[in-house]
């Protein structure tokens, strides 16, 4: 067990997988000599050589297309897209190819690629280094979508992703790459997909979040505790597969739900969560479902602190939801 930052945990997860399995190869921009722009791959070129840590030309469709071919052949490629905001040149490869290979071939060609990419705001990254567009991928059949929020989860979910048989979009909350530290188990530590994490037990309101919003929600819940409002905080960890059972069980207990994500609200992942609750927990609900999200604008640069949900906004919504009905 080691005390690590989230980005160090990603690094240890990659290192562990590469030590254990010679089929694991990394490819991406600036991941070799430079160790990645966030240093997630630091030291890996030195340990594993340029046959397994490929500094690629500047082409996201080339990175993902090449990774798809490697995976079809039997390797376990882990591609890094430098920022989620830069993934769109590879969208065709992800949506038309990677996600559909198993299905379109009748199961003859599984295609297992992990795409790691830092996502989200709060680093003064402006329009093109801040977005949270997980819904595109969660909406695409055939992709698993994973968003860790702690160092232990980052390593454990990443190792599960590497050995999973399906394509995985692994979204790393770059805002908390270094601000969050925690104990991370040594070795081949894996956390299964589809299991939400209970961050804080509560009885009055269920609050659902993932990625960089989890510490924000935890902070709000702590403050609300002092006001006599008991918020239950659940970290979804994987959006696909979704742990619906945990979501429903919590709301059946509290009767109230607040959904928090930094992505824009319209057609955001929170819409799906709200629909699940409306369809399957309607008679448990004592109050309207609330969403605390980014706004339906492009991501603003100078005013990002007003765009992103913070503990005050979350606490405000939880208070209203606790009192409603």
């Amino acid at each position: 067990v080691n005390e690590l930052t989230l980005v160090q945990a990603v690094n240890r997860g990659l290192q562990q997988a590469m030590r254990d399995d010679p089929d694991v190869v990394l490819l991406g921009e600036d991941i070799g000599v430079n160790g990645g722009v966030f240093r997630a791959t630091e030291g890996l070129l030195k340990e594993f050589g340029e046959e397994r840590v490929l500094d690629t030309p500047l082409s996201e469709t080339g990175i993902v297309g090449t990774a798809v071919g490697m995976a079809l052949y039997g390797l376990k490629p882990v591609a890094e897209i430098q920022f989620l905001d830069f993934i769109y040149p590879a969208f065709d490869q992800i949506v038309s190819e990677l996600s559909k290979f198993r299905y379109r071939s009748g199961g003859q060609y599984p295609c297992h690629v992990v795409i790691r990419t830092p996502y989200g705001g709060g680093i003064k990254g402006g329009l093109y280094h801040s977005q949270s567009t997980e819904a595109y991928f969660a909406h695409t059949a055939g992709l698993k979508v994973v968003v860790p929020s702690t160092p232990a989860d980052a390593k454990g979910l990443l190792l599960t992703a590497v050995y999973d048989e399906d394509p995985v979009i692994f979204l790393e909350p770059k805002r908390i790459y270094r601000s969050v530290t925690g104990e991370v188990p040594d070795g081949d530590h894996r956390i299964p997909f589809g299991h939400a994490r209970l961050v804080r037990e509560g009885t009055d309101v269920s609050v659902f979040a993932y990625g960089a919003m989890v510490p924000v929600v935890a902070e709000a819940a702590e403050a609300l505790g002092g006001e006599g409002i008991s918020a239950e905080v659940i970290d979804l960890r994987t959006l696909v597969p979704l742990d619906e059972a945990a979501v429903l069980a919590s709301v059946e207990k509290t009767g109230r739900a607040v959904i928090v994500h930094e992505a824009a609200r319209f057609c955001g992942f929170g819409g799906e969560l709200a629909a699940v609750l409306a369809e399957k927990a309607f008679y448990s609900l004592k109050a309207p479902i609330a969403r605390v999200t980014g706004y339906d604008t492009p991501f603003p640069y100078a005013l990002e602190n007003l765009y992103l949900p913070n503990a005050e906004r979350v606490a405000h919504a939880v208070r209203q939801t606790a009192r409603a009905g």
């Binding site: 469709t61 071919g69 065709d92 038309s96 379109r104 009748g106």
Partner: protein, 362 residues
């Protein structure tokens, strides 16, 4: 603008059969495959008009390019097709029955009815499942080639694509990566002169497509795609280079699409009958037949027998395909993931309930 055969500015290849290393008996075997491909095409166009298959993409005119290329490969090599490569599939040994089952989308279809006709893939023959987006297979072929080298395998990969694909993102990305990593890949462009309605001259200002390879740092060659031994020789040399670690090759095989882009297309809207007639003078089947007659391996009577045999094979496979049971209705809910997510399990139960209650009918 009429698309005529372009002069080669890179490295014209025209080889006599013996020079190309393709023995006459091999040419006869290739001819049988070419005739089978043409016969299947002709039959499928009419089946589509009769509503017996939903769609079809013909390859007529491109048989020498496809079969010549495939014959220069080994079974362990990986083919990344577009959707017009019936000649490659048949030359790889894919049974005609599997193709007809795929066109119909019955329970014998290895792809389980998931794809439109022609978008097939057969793992057993290292013929990767294709798709409709243009050019995406090009960078994938590069990745598979890099993986083959990492595993220290002798397999090379070959990507098939058309002239239109040379404008796609993945053509550039794939060739660029292949150049940088010296991937053991062959880029086989069938320049059939038309990307649906856009002529080759409007696809790029380059004089040839092959010359684009120079920008990526490896050779590009133009080959007469109606000349079977020439195509074979070009691909055999590209394969030799790949295996020897000399890197990728771009081959532009100049051909002509005799038929429509697909059964949804009417080529009379954009090209002339005289252009088609001009290219039919070098129909690849006619050219191979002449080679075989000269070599004393074929005469008119034997040729008639070759065509009759092809028609019989297609009829037999078609009859069997039409008699094969349809797909299980709920099968479309499988193979999204290795194991279904809870959500997919739930949706399957919902669908089966609707079936049971007669709300939806197969």
């Amino acid at each position: 603008m009429s698309a005529t055969k372009e002069p080669s500015t890179v490295a014209a290849q025209s080889a006599a059969p013996e020079k190309a290393g393709l023995p006459p008996e091999e040419i006869l075997a290739a001819y049988r495959v070419m005739v089978l491909a043409r016969t299947t095409d002709d039959r499928c166009l009419s089946l589509q008009r009769q509503g017996r298959i939903g769609f079809y993409v013909p390859a007529s005119g491109q048989e020498a390019a496809q079969v010549g290329a495939a014959r220069a490969l080994r079974p362990e090599d990986w083919v990344f097709p577009a959707y017009r490569e019936i000649g490659v599939a048949l030359a790889r040994g894919v049974p005609l029955q599997l193709l007809l089952d795929q066109f119909i989308g019955n329970s014998g279809d290895l792809l389980k009815g998931r794809q439109m006709p022609n978008h097939y893939g057969f793992r057993e023959f290292n013929f990767v499942s294709g798709s409709s987006p243009i050019g995406t297979q090009i960078s994938q072929a590069v990745g598979a080639a890099m993986a083959s080298r990492r595993r220290k395998d002798a397999a090379v990969t070959i990507a098939f694509f058309g002239d239109g694909a040379t404008s796609s993102n993945d053509f550039h990305a794939g060739l660029n990566f292949a150049g940088v990593y010296r991937a053991p890949t062959i880029f086989f462009c069938q320049n059939n002169q038309w990307a649906i309605s856009l002529p080759r001259s409007r696809q790029t200002r380059s004089e040839t497509l092959a010359e684009k390879a120079a920008a990526y740092g490896f050779p590009g060659v133009v080959v007469d795609g109606t000349d079977l031994p020439a195509v074979y020789a070009a691909v055999a040399e590209a394969r030799r280079r790949a295996v020897a670690g000399e890197g990728p090759t771009l081959i532009e095989a100049q051909v002509y699409r005799f038929g429509p882009h697909s059964t949804s297309d009417d080529p009379r809207r954009y090209r002339s009958d005289s252009e088609l007639a001009h290219w039919k003078e070098t129909d690849p089947l006619k050219r191979v037949k002449e080679l075989l007659v000269t070599a004393g391996l074929l005469d008119d009577a034997k040729d008639t027998a070759v065509w009759e045999e092809a028609r019989r094979l297609v009829t037999t496979a078609l009859e069997a395909a039409e008699k094969t049971a349809p797909l299980e209705p709920a099968s479309f809910l499988e193979d999204v993931f290795a194991a279904p997510t809870p959500r997919l399990v739930e949706e399957r139960a919902e669908f089966e309930g609707l079936l049971r209650d007669g709300v939806v009918r197969p």
